[in-house]
Symmetry: C2
Subunit: 342 residues, 2 copies
């Protein structure tokens, strides 16, 4: 019997089509490949990107020179523009504003073919430190309500260059999915004086069946109402509302957890395309949506990473309805991922 499951965060029902019971081998690898040839992200080609915003450098080399470990540049084809005012305007029933925002690229390594799963913990830690630094910096701009940090790995995940990179988009609005999460978390907190995510983590630790890996600091699990096969949720074990405030001590722990889950996914599913996205609180310094909204946000929201391997196609049905059919139960996915030998 298939099962319907409810996601208490997105308040969305998902069909877990257990009868189909697709195993890792049942997901054929999508053979689309990315264009080869000249790569503007490789070391030595610094002049082919817009001037760098920041970098972690090995030696005392200057900006836009070789010698870097992680490098941040503006997106050459930005979805949003950094210059200008928001210029909000109503048009009858509709509303518009200027597309003001930031769109940056974090080049994760000078090595063109390095899979993030195979990078050293030290290298991943440098990438995470840059995430934090860019997030902190962009949050100083009061025009931006939200800063999205996300990675597309592989052509079928939407990557257009194969050199490992992450994108950052700072937006003048809080994206809908994040707003729903924030609302669910806030309502739960106002009801119960507890964080919804802490409660879920506690329940998952007690059951254990959806845990992929966990230690004293981070937990990696497959959500109860996963929309996609092998969907992953990674969060700090202890309550923490903002990725911008992650401590130096926690960075190597997070790098280890991330490397472990990426390595397990790579081995289990033959290096699948994937997307990940950091969910953190909106910019509390920007104009609040309503009074008191921010009052409890440090207590009610819990930052986390959502990772979706791109194993199935998102059909229009699923996009158009917000109703997903997942052919691998998350308990099965977690079991496969736990059993991978690294």
């Amino acid at each position: 019997m298939p099962e319907l499951r409810h996601d208490p965060i997105q308040r969305r029902w998902v069909i877990i089509a257990t009868e189909r019971g697709r195993r890792p081998d049942d997901y054929p690898r999508q053979e689309e490949s990315l264009p080869g040839g000249f790569c503007p992200f490789c070391e030595g080609n610094e002049s082919k990107t817009p001037p760098e915003i920041t970098a972690i450098r090995r030696d005392s080399t200057g900006p836009n020179q070789p010698g870097w470990d992680v490098r941040v540049v503006p997106n050459k084809y930005p979805a949003l523009r950094i210059e200008g005012n928001l210029d909000r305007k109503g048009l009858g029933l509709f509303d518009r504003m200027n597309g003001v925002g930031a769109h940056e690229i974090i080049i994760e390594t000078p090595q063109h073919d390095l899979n993030l799963a195979d990078a050293s913990v030290e290298q991943i830690q440098k990438v995470l430190r840059i995430y934090r630094a860019r997030l902190q910096d962009l949050l100083r701009d009061l025009r931006f309500k939200y800063v999205l940090i996300f990675k597309n790995h592989g052509a079928s995940a939407g990557a257009s260059l194969s050199h490992p990179h992450t994108q950052i988009i700072a937006t003048p609005v809080t994206p809908l999915t994040l707003a729903s999460e924030l609302n669910s978390a806030k309502e739960h907190y106002l009801d119960k004086d507890r964080c919804l995510y802490c409660d879920i983590i506690q329940q998952e630790l007690e059951s254990g069946e959806r845990i992929v890996v966990s230690d004293d600091h981070f937990i990696v699990l497959t959500p109860f109402a996963s929309c996609f096969p092998f969907e992953i949720f990674l969060a700090p074990r202890n309550h923490s509302h903002s990725f911008a405030e992650i401590s130096d001590d926690m960075l190597p722990r997070l790098a280890m957890a991330l490397k472990e889950v990426l390595s397990r996914l790579k081995k289990c599913l033959n290096d699948p395309a994937y997307n990940f996205l950091i969910h953190t609180i909106p910019n509390t310094k920007s104009r609040p949506r309503r009074a008191n909204y921010w009052e409890t946000i440090e207590l009610d929201f819990h930052w986390h990473i959502e990772l979706i391997p791109r194993l199935t196609r998102i059909a229009g049905f699923e996009w158009g309805t917000g109703f997903y059919i997942n052919p691998t139960a998350p308990e099965e996915a977690a079991k496969y991922l736990r059993e991978v030998e690294l």
Copy 2:
């Protein structure tokens, strides 16, 4: 300057990346093809599908025989099962229920290679009549809260067989996107005593810039805050809440409007893959979500069809945030579609 636009129905912001300004030719046709060989939906192969539920037959042929124009069969690999009780259950913070529902296939024509855009108005009318009949029938089952009618055309839209067909899924919950629409429409009605969709249609007719085609009965337009390039909205001009109640007089009108927009899309974008979905009211006979919810539904909701050509890939970013980047402004898309010579 890119522009942010707000969708008053989904309450979602969209980036209209006008600077990218992609024209129809800028969307390369995705060359994925569907498997050839034996087709269980072709005339003569009736024994290869589960026994038919209903059909429109040319002659007095019996069920599961050749001689049909449109044929409805259960999905051989259903996402939901028709048998059983809902068996709702809480699991700590989570909720589950049995995957009870219906999953049917409407085979739109006996002709394997007939593109719906090229079918006769009479044939399309028969397909629409079957949609209505199945919707009416499934709404009698009080276990079902919603009946989804949707079509995937082309491999990149999620179709797994190329013989033209539509799917129907009856679900024991109202899908999230539909629930949001219903809520927006209800709040607008409670505020203003007018239908939100009627208001939008009126505003769009006055502006004209996003209209693709319209007559006295149906309007086809590209929504102001389209998430996808060449996204289409088709609705009756006059208020009407349920596709199940469409009159016999309106069926040929709708068939004409649908044929026209499908033909324009096919010509303009070189037969793109697409999905369409009928948005109608939930099953008012099933257990209501809350008291008074249904009281004004016939006044506040307006049935319509949403059609999304699959020209770009839905990246994880867009799925994960509910925040879309559309590289073709809807005014441009409408202009291209209007200018197609049929």
